[in-house]
Symmetry: C2
């Protein structure tokens, strides 16, 4: 049997957002690797080995997945959302770079609906104009880098998607991010808190950034800050196609 490694995105939570391509890969897998709650979304069946691990162990997980693929297994590494956005794909390529003996393993990356797209869809169309995505949780990234990016994103008038606003590794980051955005002239912008989007616990709150409080975000929240032209129409928030 020829082994291979597939890095697959499960989408934000709702099974109706898992692409058929990813479902097919899961159905053919011998081994699933990933953070526990994501592995738990894969239906168990005979012959399928589930390797759940803690969310701090990305590089070890990637290395073990490559090792099994090299041994001939059909391995799928799962992420929620899209595997290429603040998720497992980068970790797998880092592990691959450190292990030249595995560089001929067939690898494929299967995209998915990343959280900001699902959150934006529920809110309306806040990412309908130029935007950026910043990960507040990454403990490999110095805080001054985050602060610089937030200030430049505000100056560029991007809509801003904030991933992992209140992670376990950096719970204070979101409070600082809100202060930086206020200081950068974003007090009147619309902010969207999308909690557990597309799951039964989904909750979408929209308000002015000046009224946002850090505790409005938790570990399952995706935050979108609108650009300076972002508008509300009834329950919907959208970025006009015309730049201000």
């Amino acid at each position: 049997m020829t082994g291979m490694l597939t890095i697959a995105g499960l989408g934000p939570g709702d099974e109706a957002l898992v692409t058929p391509e990813v479902s097919a890969a899961l159905a053919e897998a011998t081994d699933i690797f990933g953070y526990g709650p994501y592995v738990a979304r894969v239906p168990a069946r005979e012959g399928l080995v589930l390797h759940a691990s803690d969310n701090r162990q990305e590089l070890q997980r990637a290395t073990e997945a490559l090792r099994l693929a090299a041994a001939g297994r059909r391995v799928v590494v799962v992420s929620s959302g899209d595997p290429g956005v603040f998720a497992m794909a980068s970790a797998v390529f880092e592990a691959l770079e450190a292990a030249p003996q595995w560089q001929d393993i067939p690898i494929r990356v299967l995209p998915g609906v990343t959280a900001m797209l699902a959150a934006a869809a529920r809110a309306g169309a806040p990412l309908g104009h130029d935007f950026c995505a910043i990960n507040l949780s990454d403990n490999l990234k110095p805080w001054p880098v985050i602060e610089k990016r937030l200030r430049l994103a505000a100056e560029a008038d991007f809509a801003i998607a904030l991933y992992n606003p209140r992670s376990a590794s950096r719970p204070e980051g979101f409070e600082r991010a809100l202060e930086i955005l206020k200081d950068a002239g974003c007090v009147n912008r619309i902010i969207i808190f999308a909690h557990a989007v597309t799951t039964p616990e989904e909750r979408i709150d929209t308000l002015a950034l000046r009224d946002a409080r850090p505790e409005m975000a938790d570990m399952r929240t995706l935050v979108i800050v609108g650009n300076s032209s972002t508008r509300r129409i009834g329950r919907w928030i959208y970025a006009p196609r015309r730049a201000s």
Copy 2:
């Protein structure tokens, strides 16, 4: 019959990337609106009316779709990729804002796999760290706004996804964008040209930005410029999780 309006993303091209949620919406629709090539992706069936239009007619298309939904039809407006990223969702909300009499129509936005995620997956993981997305085609956006955003994105060291690099409405934009990025210190960055991603005509080219030429992009190309740390390992391009 109660009408409703669904704004759905068909993904980048491969039918295996259409979410089950979107497939279900298409199966229940009475009317499909969209740009001709996207409407052509919806399987014809008895009782389904296909309303194909030119890609410059977004606002008229949105208004007509709302009109039919108000009249009780189950209308689906289709975009390729994700409908909220440089696509039809913003146009529908603009049309809705101009027509208060329709503001009680049930509306839902169904996300999809946007082109940059599919392009990134084919190339590796170039969006694995903070990134931005800029639309070069939008003729509603003054060029100085685009130039400012490109310069700030380079300064922020975002990976940069460029949508519609060589659109019919602004064919010269990509040449200017390349010059600006070179001038902003990005000559050594990796650039990815993803042509017709996930279709039979797919072609992925990766090179140093200094060697990029405007004609490498066409109307079906999505361009990704890596950040300053983006690396190549074998045939794969990825953004390390660690910021430089």
